[in-house]
């Protein structure tokens, strides 16, 4: 019997060189849900995605994906697991030497022996799902940022993954493209019966589309809840983050010695 959670992260620590990035993280990602992981840049969100994709292994603790502990898998096991995952990178990471069509066909050609006519139909269907079947013969350099990300999304979906991970999918997009991507995330997740994880710091768009949110700061989970709970959270950091306040637990000034010392005015005052 498959567990209710597609992903379980248990007491995970991750240290990069000597710098601890994740400190005792526990998270559950239930099947069929869209879950957001939010926090400031550099708080370990992307590291978490790489742990789930088994690109890196935890220093201690366990990452369990669909019942399999990633650190116990060999290379073939990791690749078999990844074939059932899709990951949308921050700027799409489309292969620039291929057309849009070849990009979306790439996973199909690498992992299946389908005839070219069937691949063509599948690629056009995936492109249609993101509203871009008209650009199949364009090069990635000819696309706008939002379009490139939608094409990359179509490529993620090529093998009908059980899990789709989004690394900052809204960064650098205009409000319309942002809504388009946001709606696609939700709609495709439900249509495919997949599970989605969005790493983001775009609060308003995420609160609109996700089922559950984890807040991270400095390598630990500091708050979690449904969008409604997060909106009304009284945790000072979450309140500051959701409402975009300049000062709060995250101070405007980077920690520093007294300002006067930099201006060398202390002596004058003394």
């Amino acid at each position: 019997m498959a567990s209710e959670n597609l992903i379980e992260i248990r007491d995970v620590n991750f240290t990069y060189d000597v710098r601890p990035v994740l400190k005792g993280i526990n998270m559950n990602i239930p099947r069929g849900k869209v879950v957001a992981i939010m926090g400031l840049s550099g708080c370990g969100k992307t590291t978490l995605l790489r742990l789930i994709g088994a690109q890196i292994l935890p220093t201690s603790g366990q990452v369990v994906v669909d019942g399999q502990v990633t650190s116990a898998l060999d290379r073939e096991g990791v690749f078999a697991l990844r074939r059932r995952m899709g990951m949308l990178f921050q700027f799409g990471a489309l292969f620039t030497d291929m057309t849009v069509f070849d990009n979306v066909a790439f996973p199909l050609r690498e992992h299946t022996r389908l005839p070219e006519s069937l691949i063509r139909d599948l690629v056009m269907m995936k492109l249609h799902a993101v509203g871009l079947h008209a650009v199949w013969n364009m090069r990635p350099a000819e696309l706008s940022g939002g379009m490139a990300r939608r094409v990359a999304l179509a490529r993620c979906l090529a093998l009908d993954p059980m899990l789709i991970m989004y690394d900052e999918p809204f960064t650098g997009l205009d409000p319309i493209s942002m809504s388009v991507i946001g709606n696609l995330v939700r709609r495709l997740n439900d249509a495919l019966g997949a599970t989605s994880i969005i790493v983001t710091h775009d609060v308003q768009e995420s609160l609109r589309i996700v089922d559950y949110i984890y807040f991270m700061a400095d390598g630990v989970v500091i708050a979690q809840g449904t969008p409604e709970e997060i909106r009304h959270s009284d945790t000072p950091f979450v309140h500051q983050f959701v409402h975009g306040e300049i000062d709060g637990p995250m101070a405007f000034h980077y920690p520093a010695a007294p300002y006067g010392a930099d201006l060398e005015v202390e002596a004058a005052h003394a």
Binding site: F89, T96, A152
Partner: protein, 264 residues
């Protein structure tokens, strides 16, 4: 003073450890490339595409350089040989210089600056734009899919380019020596035919160019794969490819020549 000394020694030690570590990493990368080369031959169209990029697109620079080098050899060779009344040996001089040394070495140096730098920049940028990570996340090994076909593309192209360089160089020598200066055509070709040995000269030249092809392509691929994913990182890696592979070609040429032409 002792503190400065200690920090200098520590700095040297650190650099040596770094260099040895990098060499080991490069060796592992090379072995992994060979190990994952199966797909480059099973799906040969991937390798053919790379032969086009590193081989066919290098043709212009190889052919033009080869022609001029041959023409210079014809001129300089004639100048020297005619002092001894042996200008009929011009064909031999041009052909042996090209087939044994200048063909493989100059073609490899040009290959390093034309195709090697392009390979490094391409792979470095693929890394910087997360294309390699994306491939890994699609359960496709970038070494098998991106690195190995480029490696074999380079290794197959290099001897062909060197052969073309030598051939067009001989033609350049012929143009200057025979057509322009008026050395006897029969002597030019017949002396060349008599002096150039297939096993000793041609095969050794080909072996050299294969070794150079392996060295230049492997260095270019490693530098690209290992480049820090920033604009500065990729630009430094590209420079290092050209410098390191040029030095490697010249160093290897000496070693190979010492083994191949001892006492000939």
């Amino acid at each position: 003073m002792p503190e400065r000394l200690i920090s200098t020694v520590r700095g040297i030690g650190h650099r040596v450890v770094e260099a040895v570590w990098r060499l080991g990493y490069a060796a592992r990368f090379f072995v992994a490339t060979l190990f994952h080369s199966g797909a480059s031959f099973r799906r040969f169209h991937l390798t053919i595409k790379e032969i086009y990029f590193s081989g066919v697109l290098s043709l212009i620079i190889i052919l033009v350089s080869g022609l001029f080098v041959g023409m210079v050899l014809g001129l300089q060779g004639y100048e020297t040989l005619q002092k001894y009344g042996s200008e009929s040996a011009l064909g031999t001089l041009v052909a042996l210089s090209l087939v044994r040394e200048l063909g493989p070495v100059l073609a490899a140096l040009l290959f390093a600056s034309r195709a090697g730098s392009a390979i490094t920049a391409e792979i470095g940028l693929m890394k910087a734009t997360e294309q390699l990570s994306a491939m890994e996340m699609m359960a496709v090994d970038p070494i098998a899919r991106v690195v190995a076909p480029r490696f074999w593309g380079g290794v197959i192209s290099m001897p062909l380019l060197a052969a073309l360089f030598s051939a067009i160089g001989v033609f350049g020598g012929y143009l200057v020596g025979v057509v322009l200066i008026g050395v006897d055509e029969g002597q030019f070709w017949s002396q060349m035919q008599a002096a150039v040995d297939f096993r000793q000269d041609i095969v050794n030249g080909v072996i050299k160019s294969v070794v150079f092809g392996v060295a230049v392509t492997a260095i270019a691929l490693f530098e690209g794969y290992d480049a820090p994913p920033t604009a500065e990182g990729v630009s430094h890696a590209t420079t290092r490819t050209v410098v390191t592979s040029s030095l490697a070609v010249l160093g290897l040429d000496f070693v190979l020549t010492a083994f191949m032409f001892r006492g000939v």
